[in-house]
Amino acid sequence: MKPINQKAWWLVLPVVICVAFSAVLPLMTVVNYSVQDIISPERRVFVGTEWFAAVMRDEELHAALWRQLTFSLAVLAVEIPLGIALALSMPARGWRASLVLVLVALSLLIPWNVVGTIWQIYGRADIGLLGAALAWLGVDYSYTGDATDAWITVLAMDVWHWTPLVALLCYAGLRSIPDAYYQAARIDGASRLAVFRYIQLPKLRGVLMIAVLLRFMDSFMIYTEPFVLTGGGPGNATTFLSQYLTQKAVGQFDLGPAAAFSLIYFLIILLLCFILYNWMQRVGTADREGAGHE
């Protein structure tokens, strides 16, 4: 097999220097924090792996991790199919296409904390449209009192906020498919489903990979919206990992455990992104090989 030429890596050197300053040095500091009990900058005690042990055995952290994983998987399960469906139903050209694009992109322009506030009002039974409508229908709904309602509201809010991103990415992917493919499918008498399965979906693989990674990482680090909407409650029902981390670091000022937890959080994201990336690369390679054999 031919060796791979790696000289192009030198071109990323400026980025490496910037990242070193903005990310690597702070990360090194976090590692230092994670092995010490810092009472004040002058008074600190080396504690070894004690904070890691405390964090790894923390039942509340385990619960927050499961909540987070369930939430992120639910986000992907809803937003990816919905985004694809939305992109497929959007007009391809003309003034309607421009109008729909602007309308779809609107929610992406709203800052996170405003999204939280919008949904906070929207879900209230006394002044909010959603809350009042559900109350009128006789549905017992309260995102501040019921854990399931709160969880579903946070999920609905994320879907409302971010599905347009998936839709826009898929829309761009769909527009890049040459007409020749559709013409060939028409000649073969392919059904709408077959066109989607064998032309559109494989061609969307690249943008879908970006969408899955972006949505997974973003939802895994979600903080502002649930913080504004539910404050992590009721109880701990919507306390996701980053909020739990903030409670530890800023609320209780436990810098050591918070640093240890940050590193574990970092490792989890690194592993999951690595698995997702490789899985999607593999699906792509299998598709290309399959196409080659046909």
Partner: protein, 102 residues
Amino acid sequence: MFAWMVWTTPVAVFFCCIALMLVGMTVWEIKAPTVSRKGFLPIATTRGDRLFIGLLAAAYINLGFIGLAGKLAEWLSLAQEPSIWISFVVSMAVLALILRRG
């Protein structure tokens, strides 16, 4: 200048090892460019991929051991929790295995 980073010797040693590893891998790469190959891992990997996977696996082994050390002491009726040097040696063995045969 770097006082705000509250350095400790073990962390400094750790990052020196990482830096040396990166320099070593770069020199190795220049002298003998890597070839993507398939070992026992489910994907074809280059040398850098295997180092990344190996280091990630090593981190998880150490974390898992720290998390389970209390339970291990209970199950094996040990007077105190087992030393983390055990997981360190195991993780380095796993790293070497992945680098060599992954």
